[in-house]
């Protein structure tokens, strides 16, 4: 059996696929937690992209960028979960269709 070597380009395709999956999830799913997980998937696709490009370009800036994204995404996740917690306490649901007081 012949195995093709895995190059940085394969990672870029994988990242694009992950990003598309995440974006699709954001469009289609209704549970806020799952929406949120889809967004995290998109962010991780970005990280994969950055690290692959970093490898392709042969320097480290992309990895530094990815590290910052990981840390900031964690902070954002914590804030997001806090907001969802406050929302859930008042509303007892996490369905995005119930986010409906503000209309016009």
């Amino acid at each position: 059996m012949h195995l093709y070597p895995i190059t940085a380009y394969h990672y870029l395709v994988l990242a694009a696929a992950l990003f598309a999956l995440g974006a699709t999830g954001v469009m289609l799913r209704r549970n806020i937690i799952i929406l949120f997980m889809s967004i995290e998937l998109m962010l991780n696709a970005v990280n994969l992209n950055l690290v692959a490009f970093s490898r392709l370009n042969g320097h480290v800036v992309g990895q530094v960028f990815a590290l910052f994204i990981v840390a900031v995404a964690a902070a954002e996740a914590v804030v997001g979960l806090g907001i969802l917690l406050a929302f859930y306490r008042n509303k007892e649901t996490l369905n995005i269709d119930e986010v409906n007081l503000l209309r016009g």
Binding site: L67, V70, A74, A77
Partner: protein
């Protein structure tokens, strides 16, 4: 073979550290067994039951705060790798970074998020 020596040393240290701590607490630690403590997972929740039951909000808060402090440590690894080049300036930068994290910790602590004794949320 020569390259693997540091890893062997690290493995030895890790095993020794774990063995020492378990042994020391066996030998000199106080023992007051209660049913909760003897349960397979001592995590504050019944180990068997419906997984969909609602948990006190404390769990979420602690999990969130753990997530934050856990991830921030990620900055330590590249810093440690570059410390020799960064010298004292780099050291001071990290001190400032941790001072900021620490003030966040003080805030969380004084807000009572880490306090499991009193029941307030």
């Amino acid at each position: 073979m020569h390259d693997w020596v540091p890893i062997l040393i690290m493995l030895g240290f890790a095993t020794g550290f774990a063995a020492f701590n378990i042994g020391a607490s066996k030998l000199i630690g106080p023992k007051h067994p209660t049913p909760e403590k003897l349960a397979p997972y001592e995590c504050g929740m019944p180990p068997v039951g419906d997984a969909r039951e609602r948990h006190p909000v404390k769990f979420y808060l602690v999990a969130m705060i753990f997530l934050l402090f856990d991830i921030e440590v990620a900055f330590l690894y590249p810093w440690a790798m570059a410390l020799r080049e960064l010298r004292w300036v780099g050291f001071m930068q990290l001190i400032v970074f941790f001072a900021i994290l620490l003030s966040g910790y003080v805030y969380v602590w004084r807000k009572g998020v880490l306090d499991w004794g009193r029941d307030r949320d």
